[in-house]
């Protein structure tokens, strides 16, 4: 059976690419520290020696639209083009291209459906920065086949938080039951407190540093029970109107496992939002 080589949860900040590649007067003062933290974070994936990447993210109204909105969708394609015109325009993100692992996609779909998750699928998916940002930060060579999984954290009504946790748990079990000798890293990106298009956006810190402090503690300690006890669809608006992206962190807590402390934790307090980086090495993964 396949080995889960690493479980990684991260924020996805679309400004990282431009900040890290800019020079001279264009280079923001926080760029060097950010690059140093990302370089250290990248090493946590590299040393897990993965063969395949499962990437959990959320489409930002690119290919997925309100006339046809799945809650959870698995990409099943041999290849994926990536990044969109408005991401080039606003963030300077490059066009990217990835190979898919259709065999693992098929296994996740079949096993997920049989486990009670009515997963949607896509045979032609152009992926966006929720998936390409972690590739840029963690695997810029983009040389490994991927399986993208999209969640709806964006367009209410959303599933309940516990459903994201359950799906994360299921993804872990499903990957571990994949008849393959490959090493799979499961990577998911979301947000801590975040405001987009509202009065609290683009402040000197994230909109709710106290939420961020608690959230980092829940994730680092694998404290799913506490997170589920404090987070609801109704109160996630309070730390910031885009904070439902935290549900993807909750999914990754499910993947990492209840009570599992992260082996690597780092944060960076940036303008607009706090960056947070977590890596778990499952027992027996041999990282």
């Amino acid at each position: 059976m396949a080995t889960v080589a690493a479980v990684i949860a991260s924020t996805h900040h679309p400004f990282y690419y431009r900040a890290s590649t800019s020079t001279g007067d264009e280079r923001p003062p926080f760029a060097d520290e950010w690059v140093a933290k990302i370089t250290a974070f990248r090493e946590t994936l590299t040393r897990a020696n993965p063969d395949v990447l499962v990437l959990v993210g959320s489409d930002h109204f690119h290919q997925i639209w309100l006339d046809n909105m799945p809650q959870f969708l698995v990409g099943k394609a041999p290849f994926y083009d990536a990044n969109w015109y408005n991401e080039e325009r606003e963030f300077g993100l490059p066009r990217m291209f990835f190979k898919g692992d259709e065999n693992l996609s098929a296994h996740i779909l079949r096993s997920g459906l049989d486990a009670g998750f009515d997963l949607a699928f896509s045979n032609e998916l152009r992926i966006d920065h929720s998936v390409t940002c972690p590739m840029i930060t963690l695997r810029p060579e983009a040389d490994l086949p991927i399986v993208p999984i999209y969640t709806n954290i964006f367009a209410p009504p959303l599933p309940q938080p516990k459903r994201y946790v359950q799906l994360g748990q299921a993804i872990r079990e499903i990957v571990e039951s994949w008849p393959s000798d490959l090493r799979v890293a499961i990577i998911g990106t979301g947000h801590l407190s975040l405001e987009l298009g509202g009065p609290r956006q683009f402040g000197p810190h994230g909109p709710d540093p106290e939420f961020d402090r608690k959230a980092v503690e829940w994730i680092a300690n694998g404290d799913i029970e506490k997170a589920l006890g404090e987070v609801s669809l109704e109160n996630l608006w309070e730390p910031g109107n885009a904070t439902h992206g935290f549900l993807d962190f909750m999914l990754m807590m499910g993947t990492a496992g209840a009570g599992e402390k992260a082996d690597y934790v780092d944060t960076l307090d940036l303008f607009h939002t706090m960056e947070a980086y977590f890596t778990w090495y499952p027992k027996g993964a041999g990282a």
């Binding site: 109204f61 309100l66 408005n86 606003e90 009504p157 509202g198 956006q201």
Partner: protein, 120 residues
């Protein structure tokens, strides 16, 4: 009232470079053209099978025709869509990094929690 149609307008403009420029230069004309020609087109469906029932009410049409960000926020347009298309149109007019984004936040400073519902 149709939050969905507001969102559909913002979404279809945001993904089309020509429409972004057209909406910046002629917001009222663009909204009127779009409502007449595009509002009922189901994305990824042949034009012959378009919808027959989608239209803005007067408040929605006026909010879009005047780039009225606070009104769009009040009406429950998806804040990500409004922000993204507005950055595409107006960020270029500000010299400082994030100058437009901070101005945009200031324009919404009268809104307190809970914000208007964006559920479609």
């Amino acid at each position: 009232m149709s939050k969905y149609l507001l969102d559909k307008f913002l979404y279809t403009v945001d993904r089309d470079p020509e429409l972004v420029e057209r909406y910046r230069e002629d917001p009222r004309g663009t909204v009127e053209w779009w409502e007449a020609e595009r509002a009922n087109v189901i994305l990824n469906v042949q034009a012959a099978e378009k919808s027959t029932w989608l239209k803005f009410d007067d408040v929605e049409r006026e909010a879009l025709a005047t780039h009225d960000v606070p009104k769009l926020f009040e009406l429950g347009a998806h804040p990500f869509l409004t922000l993204t298309v507005c950055i595409a149109m107006f960020e270029r007019d500000y010299q400082e990094p994030l100058g437009y984004q901070l101005y945009y936040a200031q324009c919404l400073s009268n809104f307190k929690l809970p914000y208007p519902d964006i559920t479609t």
